[in-house]
C-alpha cells in the first residue's frame, strides 16, 4: 500500500465537488482518474498534490498523514495541463529548478545537478533542447520538459492533470505510448486525470471512473469496459442506447428485440433498462418485426441506422457498411443484440444529466 484516501470531501461555496472518495493506490501503479468535466477528478488530484485541502476525510502516504504536510514536503511531481513551464528559463534550468531550490545542506553540487538534468534529457528523448526556451518548443516537447521537471526531484508520486489535453491527436497517441514506457522504466507511482476514455484505457493499470464527486467504478480497463457497474459508467463508455425491457426469471425480454445472446442475470422480475452500444445491435430484415428503419446514414466505413417502433422507441445501430447493403428505409427489421448491460428499474430520468456527458466529451476533443 502506498497512497490511501478515505472519505475525502470538498466543497466550493455551495457546490459539493467531492462527496466521500475512497481510493488506495499501490506502489508503482499507473492510475487514470476518468470522468466528465465537473466530476471532481482534478480537485482530487490537487488535494493529493497539496495544492488544495479537503473539508473532510483523510489522505496518507505509507501511513504518514499528508494533510498536515505542505506540497513541498510531500515531494510530489505535478504536471499541469498547460505545463506551467517557467518562460524565462531554459529547458535545462526548468528541469533543474526543483534541485536548485533545495536547502543548501541537501542541495547537490552544480556538476551533479547538471548530470541529473542530462540524464533526464536523454531519458525523455529531448537532449537537443537543453538550451531552448519554452516559447521555442512544440506542445509535445513542452509536455516532456514539464515531466522532466517533475521527475527531477524523484517524486514519491507523479500527478498529471489532463497530460495530453492540449495536444493534437497524432502527438497525443505517440506521447501516450511514450509515457507508458517512461512509467514502466522509472516505476514511479503515477496518477493522471483525463476525460478521454481511450486514453485512460490504453495507458492505465487501473481506471477510476468519477462522476459528480463520487467514484462510480474502479477496475482494470477491460473489466470496466465489459461490466460497467452503474448506468453512468455504461453511458460514459458508449452504451448510449437505452431500451426498456422486462425481466422474467433472469432473462430480459422486449418486443422486436432478439436478446437470446445476453446471459441470464440474477435480477428480480419486473422492469429494467438495457444499455447497448450501437455497434452491438444488428438489424436483420424481418417483415413481421415491429421496428422500422427510419434513417440510414453512411460515414464511409460504417452505416448508422435508426429504427423506431410504434411506441416511438428509437434505437440507433451501427454496422460495417458492406454488411448493410440490403437494408432500406422504411423496411421492418428485427434487432439482434450481441452484448449489453442490464440495470434494474425503468429508464431513470433522475440520471438524465449524465446522458449529455459522452456527447460533450466528444465535442471537446480536438
Amino acid at each position: 500500500m502506498s497512497l490511501a484516501i478515505s472519505h475525502l470531501a470538498r466543497r466550493f461555496d455551495t457546490t459539493q465537488v467531492l462527496r466521500g472518495i475512497d481510493l488506495t493506490v499501490g506502489k508503482g501503479e499507473l492510475i487514470a482518474l476518468l470522468g466528465p468535466s465537473g466530476s471532481g477528478k482534478t480537485t482530487l488530484l490537487r488535494i493529493i498534490a497539496g495544492l488544495d485541502w479537503p473539508d473532510a476525510g483523510a489522505l496518507s502516504f505509507n501511513g504518514t498523514d499528508w494533510l498536515v504536510k505542505s506540497a513541498a514536503e510531500r515531494r510530489i511531481g505535478f504536471v499541469f495541463q498547460h505545463y506551467a513551464l517557467f518562460p524565462h528559463m531554459t529547458v535545462r534550468d526548468n528541469i533543474a529548478f526543483g534541485l536548485t531550490v533545495l536547502p543548501r545542506a541537501d542541495r547537490p553540487g552544480k556538476a551533479q545537478i547538471a548530470a541529473t538534468v542530462d540524464r533526464l534529457l536523454a531519458f525523455l528523448q529531448i537532449d537537443g533542447l537543453a538550451d531552448r526556451y519554452p516559447a521555442e518548443l512544440s506542445g509535445g516537447q513542452r509536455q516532456r520538459v514539464a515531466l522532466g521537471r517533475a521527475m527531477a526531484i524523484e517524486p514519491r508520486v507523479l500527478l498529471l492533470d489532463e497530460p495530453f489535453g492540449a495536444l493534437d491527436a497524432q502527438v497525443r497517441r505517440d506521447l501516450r505510448r511514450w509515457l507508458r514506457g517512461v512509467h514502466d522504466s522509472a516505476g514511479t507511482t503515477t496518477i493522471f486525470v483525463t476525460h478521454d476514455q481511450e486514453e485512460a484505457f490504453e495507458l492505465a493499470d487501473r481506471v477510476v471512473v468519477m462522476n459528480g464527486g463520487v467514484i462510480e467504478q474502479t477496475g482494470h480497463p477491460d473489466e470496466i469496459y465489459d461490466h460497467p457497474a452503474t448506468p453512468f459508467v455504461a453511458r460514459f463508455l458508449g452504451l448510449t442506447v437505452e431500451v426498456p425491457v422486462t425481466i422474467r426469471s433472469g432473462r430480459a425480454q422486449a418486443a422486436g428485440l432478439d436478446l437470446t445472446a445476453l446471459p441470464r442475470r440474477a435480477l428480480p422480475d419486473g422492469p429494467a433498462t438495457l444499455f447497448l452500444r450501437p455497434a452491438d445491435i444488428q438489424p436483420v430484415p424481418d417483415p413481421a418485426a415491429p421496428f422500422r428503419v427510419t434513417e440510414i446514414a453512411s460515414t464511409g466505413a460504417l452505416l448508422r441506422i435508426v429504427a423506431e417502433n410504434a411506441a416511438a422507441c428509437r434505437i440507433e445501430a451501427e454496422m460495417p457498411r458492406r454488411q448493410g447493403r440490403d437494408l432500406r428505409k422504411d423496411q421492418p427489421v428485427a434487432l439482434r443484440v450481441i452484448a449489453g448491460q442490464i440495470f434494474p428499474g425503468g429508464a431513470a430520468p433522475a440520471d438524465a444529466a449524465p446522458v449529455e456527458a459522452p456527447k460533450a466529451l466528444k465535442e471537446s476533443r480536438p
Binding site: F80, F86, F97
Partner: protein
C-alpha cells in the same frame, strides 16, 4: 503587356487630416517643448549653468530627487503586494481594494493636497495630536512624500496586475510542488515574469513623482530653499520674472521627463 495602375480613390481628404494632425502636434507639443530649451540657452550655456546652480534651484532639484527616491521603493512594494493580493486571492473587500488603487487617478491632485491640509494641518483633524507629539507633516518632507505617494500610488499596481492575472498562478504552484519556499517562488518565478511591467510602472510613477505640482503645492507651504520641489521652484522663478531661471529649471525637468520617455518606449517594447 503594359502594367496599368489600378485606380485609387481621391486622397485629398486623407492628406488634409494628416496635415491637421501634424500641425496640432507641432503647436501643442513639439514647439512649446523646443521653446523651453531655446529660451533656457538663449543667454548662452554659462547663464544657464549659473541659473541651475543657484542655491534655491539646486536645493529644489535635490528635494525632488529625494522625494522620488523615497516614493519609488514604497510604490514598488505596495504595487507588487496589492497586485499579487488581487490577482491571486479572492477575499472580502477585493473589489474595494481594486477601486481604492484606482482612486487617485480619478481625483484631481489638488483635492488630495487639500485633504491632507484638512487632516494634518494645524487646524486639521489630527493637527493638535501632531503638534503635541511635535511631528511635522505639513510644510515639510513627510507631507510632500505622502501626497506624492497618493498621486503615484496606482502606477505600479496598474501595470503589474493585468500581467499577473493573465499569467495565472500555475507557475507559482509548479514551483511550490517542486519544493520552493515563498521567497524563492517570488524571486525566481513571480518577479522575472513581471519585471518589465514593474520597471515600466516604476518609470511612470517616478515621472509623475518628479513632475507633480498641484498636490505638492498645497502641502509644501512653498518655503524658499526648504520645501520647494522643482515644479514649484519653476513657478516661483517665473512669478519673480526670472524668465531665464524659470526656463533653465524647466529644461532640467523636461530633460528628466524625456529620459523617462525614452526608457518607457524601450520598456514598452520589452513588455510585449
Amino acid at each position: 503587356m503594359s502594367a496599368v495602375l489600378a485606380p485609387r480613390p481621391d486622397q485629398g481628404g486623407a492628406r488634409l487630416l494628416i496635415g491637421l494632425a501634424v500641425a496640432l502636434t507641432l503647436f501643442i507639443v513639439v514647439v512649446p517643448l523646443a521653446y523651453i530649451f531655446w529660451r533656457a540657452f538663449s543667454g548662452g550655456f554659462a547663464v544657464f549653468a549659473q541659473n541651475i546652480l543657484a542655491p534655491d534651484t539646486l536645493h529644489a532639484i535635490w528635494l525632488t530627487s529625494v522625494v522620488a527616491a523615497i516614493t519609488l521603493p514604497i510604490n514598488l512594494a505596495i504595487g507588487i503586494a496589492s497586485a499579487w493580493l488581487i490577482a491571486r486571492f479572492t477575499f472580502p473587500g477585493r473589489k474595494a481594494l481594486l477601486t481604492i488603487i484606482e482612486l487617485p487617478f480619478s481625483i484631481s491632485p489638488i483635492i488630495a493636497g487639500v485633504c491632507y491640509l484638512l487632516l494634518y494641518g494645524r487646524q486639521g483633524l489630527l493637527g493638535p495630536l501632531l503638534a503635541a507629539g511635535e511631528v511635522k507633516i505639513l510644510f515639510a518632507l513627510p507631507g510632500i512624500v505622502m501626497v506624492t505617494l497618493f498621486v503615484t500610488g496606482p502606477f505600479v499596481a496598474r501595470e503589474v496586475l493585468p500581467l499577473m492575472q493573465a499569467q495565472g498562478s500555475e507557475q507559482e504552484q509548479a514551483a511550490l510542488t517542486l519544493g520552493a519556499s515563498g521567497w524563492q517562488i517570488f524571486r525566481r518565478v513571480t518577479l522575472p515574469n513581471i519585471r518589465w511591467a514593474l520597471l515600466y510602472g516604476a518609470v511612470l510613477a517616478t515621472a509623475r513623482a518628479v513632475g507633480e505640482f498641484g498636490a505638492v503645492s498645497v502641502v509644501s507651504g512653498a518655503i524658499r530653499g526648504q520645501t520647494m520641489t522643482l515644479p514649484l521652484q519653476i513657478e516661483l522663478l517665473f512669478n519673480d520674472l526670472n524668465i531665464v531661471g524659470a526656463f533653465a529649471a524647466a529644461s532640467t525637468l523636461t530633460l528628466i521627463a524625456l529620459v523617462v520617455l525614452v526608457l518607457k518606449t524601450v520598456l514598452e517594447g520589452r513588455t510585449r
